[in-house]
């Protein structure tokens, strides 16, 4: 993915066809063309291409297009009430649950320089980052911190309603009164993104203080000509020490993603004064590092994992410039701001870091294929990273793909099935694909999965199966969410498809039923025409924070998204939905929850 010496000139050649070159650029290009036959060939090829494109057949629109437009206008089928004008009752009834969740607010904000004027009749935002920040912190609960139980043999009761079982085991549809709450002080909440994308100014906003950190690619090769993100953020992960925020942004419309890391705070004081402090970073607070770009289109490619000591971020890049998916695991080293490939096989995906022990940091890396396997690769602070084959670099081979460990490392959700490579999505499952929940066993220096069971109940173990899905754990290590489910076959039809690609499934590891259709959040929580971008599980395990992308197609609409806090209710009681931050004309989200020192100290297995 390194830039060759012809690349800058190819861009100039490309731009020259629309007269987009400055005089200086034109002179530079002409001089280069005089001595570079390769670029002359490129010029000729691009010129041919433009000629071919201009020769495309002009196809007249259907004769009845005008009548169809007129009919559509008169029917008013596009006259649905804009989201910001919908009755407030839809988002009502959240006060108690908000108090149960909110601590301080950390936000990432994407700003445009000139927010558009609100339309006539537009309501004021129902909440703002500042107002969320002012919400009272959670009172420490007297409920004991739940221990992570062994995974029981499934006793599938997919039809049982949450209401029927809530009293005998941890609720799958928790409410503030029934859900176990972590004993440690509540980790701080959240983050958001506001503002259209036209001026492409990003900010990280700390919800506690309201401080904003502008995001600009200002490190390394890009320092002299900083280029920030060019599209909206779609995922974010905060390092456990709170120093770094890693996030992904779309490049324009869906197709390619950028990966970034912004240093947002100074290093915290170590909880254990005897512990070896992490090395100071050469990246200053407020600086952003561009880590690479990747094919988008699969949740497997959009996962990022921080090591528990905050030294490393693991992520996956699939080269968008190659015809075949060329995915490899990468490591971002926070001490020197370098992003380095960890693998070189073209079918390797970063999975999860195992909580750090001593000076060795262990990472699960997965190899896609007919029988995907995962390996534990050790990273040592005193050893340079040299890319290689995970099967040779790693130890502890295990069947399964991309295990996502719970925050304390005791549980894992991983995938099994047969995978195949697709140009637009990287590797996805094509047969028997399914996520499994298992205990993550640590025995000395060996790691294994045991007591596994399928995450989704009531789906055939063999057959078309899942293609992919996005998964997130809550900080309590019990609650988890699954969304963006892709299913290769025909989903079970009926009133609601199962698995439903446009709904979030919310479950708990301690619920041995796994996920069932009743674990999907209410349809009304996120309208079908909207799109779920990202989901975070609140530290209480009782709430979901969903970044919801608005339907596009409006007038000069930049991409827009808002944050919705969803509180699950049981039985016939509708979920409670609150919009945490309403973008006037922009993007809010994704959010992250910030763990405090006390919670962080509990990470050790």
């Amino acid at each position: 993915m390194t830039m060759d010496r012809h690349e800058p000139f190819e861009e100039l050649i490309s731009a020259s066809f629309a007269g987009d070159l400055t005089d200086a650029e034109r002179d530079r290009l002409d001089a280069h063309l005089d001595r570079c036959s390769q670029c002359r060939t490129t010029l000729a090829a691009f010129a041919d291409q433009r000629r071919i494109m201009s020769g495309l057949r002009h196809v007249a629109p259907p004769r009845d297009l005008g009548a169809r437009v007129r009919t559509g206008i008169e029917r008013g089928r596009f006259a649905a009430t804009p989201w910001w004008r919908r009755p407030a009752v839809m988002f009502a009834g959240v006060g108690g649950s908000l108090a149960a969740v909110a601590g301080a607010l950390l936000a990432i904000v994407l700003f445009n320089g000139e927010p558009a004027e609100p339309e006539v009749g537009q309501a004021s935002p129902t909440a703002s980052i500042a107002s969320i920040a002012s919400i009272a912190s959670l009172e420490p609960s007297e409920t004991p911190r739940p221990t992570l139980p062994p995974i029981a043999t499934p006793t599938s009761t997919p039809d049982a309603s949450p209401a029927e079982t809530a009293s005998v085991q941890p609720s799958i549809t928790p409410s503030p009164t029934s859900n176990p709450v972590v004993e440690a002080p509540e980790p701080d909440v959240v983050m958001a993104v506001t503002g259209p994308v036209e001026d492409l100014a990003f900010n990280v906003v700390d919800g506690t203080t309201g401080d904003e950190t502008p995001i600009e690619d200002s490190v390394g090769d890009d320092a002299e000509d900083p280029v920030g993100p060019s599209g909206p953020p779609i995922g974010a992960e905060l390092s456990p020490d709170g120093q770094w925020l890693a996030f992904m942004t779309e490049i324009g419309q869906r197709g390619v993603n950028d990966v970034w890391a912004t240093r947002i705070t100074e290093a915290p004081e170590p909880a254990d004064p005897e512990a070896t402090p992490a090395p100071a970073s050469t990246v200053e607070v407020g600086e952003t590092v561009h880590l690479g770009e990747s094919v988008a289109g699969s949740p497997f490619l959009e996962r990022m994992s921080w090591s528990s000591d905050g030294r490393y971020l693991a992520f996956t890049l699939a080269d968008p410039e190659t015809d075949e998916p060329d995915a490899d695991a990468w490591i971002f080293q926070t001490h020197d701001g370098q992003a380095l490939p960890l693998t070189d096989t073209g079918n390797a995906y970063a999975a999860s870091f195992i909580p750090t022990v001593d000076d060795t940091t262990n990472l699960w890396v997965s190899v896609a294929g007919d029988e995907p396997r995962s390996y534990v690769i050790s990273l040592r602070a005193d050893t340079e990273i040299t890319p290689g084959d995970p099967a040779e670099l790693g130890t502890n081979a295990a069947n399964g793909f991309q295990p996502l460990l719970s925050p304390n490392g005791s549980l894992a959700i991983f995938w099994r099935g047969r995978m195949s490579a697709e140009q637009d999505s990287g590797w996805v499952f094509v047969e028997n694909g399914a996520p499994y929940l298992a205990a993550h066993d640590v025995d000395g220096g060996t790691y294994a999965f045991s007591s596994e069971r399928t995450v989704f109940s009531g789906l055939a173990a063999e057959g078309p199966g899942f293609r992919s899905a996005a998964i997130a754990w809550g900080l309590d290590g019990d609650a988890y969410a699954v969304w963006d489910t892709g299913w290769n076959g025909d989903a079970a039809e009926g009133q609601d498809p199962y698995p439903d690609p446009i709904r979030v499934y919310f479950g708990h590891a301690t619920d041995d039923r796994g996920l069932t259709p009743t674990h999907a959040i209410d349809r009304a929580d996120v309208d079908p025409e909207l799109m779920i971008v990202d989901v975070e599980v609140a530290p209480t395990g009782g709430h979901l924070l969903i970044t919801v992308r608005q339907a596009s197609g409006g007038v000069m609409d930049a991409p827009r998204a808002e944050l919705r806090l969803v509180t699950r209710n049981v039985g016939d009681v509708p979920d409670e939905v609150e919009v945490l931050e309403v973008p006037e004309n922009g993007w809010v989200g994704p959010a992250v929850f910030r763990a405090d020192d006390e919670w962080d100290s509990s990470l050790a297995p």
């Binding site: 190819e10 494109m53 297009l65 559509g72 036209e198 596009s552």
Partner: protein, 191 residues
Amino acid sequence: MAVRGPIPWDLPAVTRRAVDSSETAFARLFEEYAAPIHNYVLRMVGDPDRAADITQDTFIKAYRKLDTVTEATSTRSWLYRIATNTAIDDMRRRRMVTPMGDDAPAFANRPDHRPGPEAQVMAATLDERVQRALMHLRPNHRQCLLLSDLDDMSAQQIGDVMGLSYAAVRTLLCRARGEMRRALAAEGFAR
């Protein structure tokens, strides 16, 4: 082969028409832009039925928002942006079921009523191969390339449509040309 003549994009008169939300203004807007928008969308999605639906939805949305167009707004970019977003939404919905790469250039197999059978056969073959190459591009590459080479937009105008910076468009367009070059080569076009 029909040759597209220059279209007086972005003339003040056009903008004035858009600002004036009268029925007459919308009718003239439709008359002026329906064909190019339809062709752009058709090349984006490669299917005439979907292209017609998307074009239809584009103009319905435009009608409902006509009063928000200002003098400073490029009517052309505004319309293309609506069309682009509508097409993206359509592709995104379909992607849940069918991978993008499986989008077949179905329009190439539909009857073409233009005269000149031999020339038409040759043109259709060429057209089909180019469209097939286009469908191998990532959607954002395809958009960018079409806006540049089919609709003669500058990088700044493409940025207005796609919500990208000038620099980002130049980079994206170069990558799109590189990708299209490989796709055309796979279809047997030399160089």
